[in-house]
């Protein structure tokens, strides 16, 4: 330790520092003061975005609701805007039908995948399969739309011969495939964060893997799982291109999945791409539909957040 402190007698840097410090203070302090405001400004942009969305949707919707009664809009069952019938139910019905089919596809498959990945697959398998599965969520939705129209629909047609080319079934099915990884990945995360001690406790009593999954892991991860499902559903509600391409453009209040339907999103695309005259009631109606869609997904997102916050600290 004789090597320590061998250099004595150098000029003291500290005094140097302090002097410089004092010279710099004005500039340095100014930066230090300005930066938080700049950062706050940036953070506020996201709030402004929400305000902007609300402004956009509300402004035009108000225009719409001054022509069409809001009651007729939400209680009417026929959507024939060119004949002046603005009952949004068929569009909501179409959206719900797609969402329902997608949920029926994605939730069991996603959950089972999550269980497989989290409890049965070894680490290597998980590390390979999980990202591959996640690729499903990253594929552009036009590609899915194309796939639904040119592959899935013909495939279903060979089973259900009188299935139309545009139908809710293949659209919903493919939306379901697309959201599988959302359910699988987020649920897997939730299951993974169940402490191993709980699993050990159950294994130590002679439980099989399946019993551990059902009676320990799933209940403990329930909030995360439910939140993942709600988020996936919200994604299905807002999905646009797949249904625009594959599910048709027929506002149809039906729960028959073989029929052509129109979702809220598909109507917005249809109406916004030029099929309407600026300022006409139909033009405004697309914002009223957008508003309804926004409220739907907002509700789902808030619900998901509520669930995951409320039940977070359970174990």
């Amino acid at each position: 330790m004789d090597k320590g402190l061998q250099s004595e007698g150098n000029k003291l840097n500290v005094q140097d520092l302090i002097e410089r410090n004092k010279q710099k203070t004005t500039f340095g302090q100014r930066i230090e003061k300005v930066i938080p405001w700049f950062l706050l400004l940036c953070a506020i942009i996201s709030v402004l975005t929400t305000v902007g969305i609300l402004f956009t949707l509300l402004r035009e919707s108000i225009g719409f609701f001054s022509n069409v009664s809001i009651i007729d809009f939400y209680t009417g069952t026929s959507w024939s805007p060119w004949s002046g019938e603005y009952g949004v139910a068929p569009l909501i019905g179409g959206t719900l039908l797609i969402t329902l089919i997608a949920t029926v596809v994605a939730v069991p498959l996603g959950l089972m995948s999550a269980i497989f990945l989290s409890e049965y697959a070894n680490d290597k398998v998980r590390r390979v399969i999980k990202p591959i599965l996640e690729v499903l969520a990253g594929i552009p939705t036009v590609v899915y739309g194309y796939f639904a129209l040119t592959f899935v629909t013909p495939m279903f047609q060979s089973i259900i011969p009188d299935l139309g080319i545009f139908n809710a079934l293949s659209g919903g099915f493919v939306v379901g495939i697309m959201i599988i990884p959302m359910v699988a990945s987020l649920s897997e995360d939730a299951m993974n964060s169940v402490p191993n001690a709980l699993r050990e406790g159950a294994y130590g009593l002679g439980a099989t893997k399946l019993e551990v999954v059902y009676k320990v892991v799933l209940p403990a991860a329930l909030s995360g799982i439910v939140a993942s499902i709600v988020l996936a559903i919200s994604r299905a509600i807002g999905e646009t291109m797949i249904v625009t391409i594959a599910a048709g453009a027929t506002p149809n209040l039906t729960f028959d999945p073989t029929e052509s339907i129109q979702t809220m999103t598909a109507f917005i695309v249809q109406a916004a791409t030029g099929d309407t005259t600026f300022g006409s009631t139909i033009y405004y109606s697309l914002y009223a539909v957008g508003m309804t869609l926004f409220v739907f997904t907002l509700g789902m997102n808030l619900l998901a957040q509520y669930i995951s916050r409320k039940f977070r600290e359970e174990y």
């Binding site: 026929s78 959507w79 024939s80 060119w82 004949s83 019938e85 068929p90 129209l149 139309g164 080319i165 545009f166 048709g248 453009a249 027929t250 506002p251 149809n252 209040l253 039906t254 029929e259 052509s260 249809q270 791409t273 030029g274 099929d275 309407t276 005259t277 600026f278």
Partner: protein, 315 residues
């Protein structure tokens, strides 16, 4: 892409014309024309315009054309505000659109590009319909009619739901049909009707469903002769006529023959050399382009007339 019997002849015509146009554009502009041209509007006219803008690049590589297809109404929505230079239309401009243009200080002038026979088609899988009368068309498409099944139109036909695929209500094609067939009475809407601004959606929908019927520009039929069956149309007791190059040009396909337009923003024509150049190019080549994509060219002198008319705008 579109093998028609008239191809050879029109090809020759086209060649001679395009060499003429090369001459004209070089002698007039002298220097290279450059700058953007924005085109939007009718999806019926879209294939002609796509063909023209594509070949125009060789002529004037510095000109940046951008082309969209939002339907005739969608095009006018933008052109009456002066947002675009050329507004394609499969119908004439409406009074309210004209008024809107005036309010915005925009002057729009029509140019006829080709003839179209609005084609009423069913799927090639349909083995019962061959011809329809105008009266029967009304039965099928009018909201006020009770006909739901094919058997309601003709007792020999099967008792199957009629599925309608029609262009969106603001499209020129719909307007034209509305005017001459439906006589401005509302068309059926709702569960069995698919409205789409995208003619290809209509083609796909019809070709897959033996009980479907719909209508669109002749080019879309011409491109899908294998999977679609075009119907002969008769007025009163006359012989049914199917749309072909000849019947459209000689006017025997009636009443569904119609001209196709592009509306030029005169201001842009005056001030933008590239617009002027492109308009001339268009009038010199529209006939060939129309034939190539499956429409019918106007008589040669008609293009020359319009060219002179256009030149007069600049003065």
């Amino acid at each position: 892409a579109c093998g028609g019997s008239g191809d050879d002849a029109s090809g020759d015509e086209g060649n001679s014309e395009s060499s003429g146009s090369e001459g004209s554009s070089t002698e007039e502009s002298g220097e290279e024309v450059a700058g953007p041209i924005a085109i939007d509007g009718s999806s019926t006219v879209y294939p002609i315009m796509e063909n023209l803008t594509f070949s125009y690049r060789e002529e004037a590589p510095e000109v940046e054309t951008s082309l969209n297809s939002s339907g005739s109404g969608g095009g006018f929505k933008k052109s009456t505000k002066g947002e675009i230079d050329l507004s394609n239309a499969s119908r004439e401009i409406k009074e309210e659109e004209k008024k809107q243009a005036e309010e915005n200080g925009v002057q729009l002038e029509p140019l006829e590009l080709a003839y179209d026979g609005l084609s009423v088609t069913v799927s090639a899988k349909n083995d019962f319909v061959e011809n329809l009368t105008i009266e029967q068309l009304r039965q099928i498409f009018l909201e006020s009619s009770d006909a739901e099944m094919w058997s309601d139109i003709n007792p020999d036909w099967p008792e199957e739901q009629i599925e309608i695929f029609a262009p969106g209500h603001d499209s020129g094609t719909f307007d034209y049909f509305n005017e001459v067939v439906l006589e401005e009475n509302p068309m059926k809407e709702g569960e069995n009707t698919t409205l789409s601004e995208d003619d290809n959606t209509l083609v796909r929908g019809i070709e897959n469903n033996p009980n479907a019927i719909g209508f669109f520009g002749y080019a879309y039929y011409a491109a899908n002769k294998d999977s679609l069956k075009v119907l002969g149309i008769s007025e009163g007791d006359a012989e049914p006529v199917k749309p072909t190059g000849e019947t459209i040009q000689d006017g025997s396909y009636t009443p569904l023959s119609r001209p196709l337009f592009t509306y030029v923003n005169v201001e842009a024509y005056k001030n933008k050399p590239q617009v002027r150049d492109f308009v001339e190019y268009t009038l010199n080549n529209a006939g060939k382009a129309a034939e190539e994509v499956g429409y019918v060219a106007l008589p040669e002198e008609k293009y020359q007339e319009q060219l002179d008319k256009a030149k007069s705008w600049a003065e």
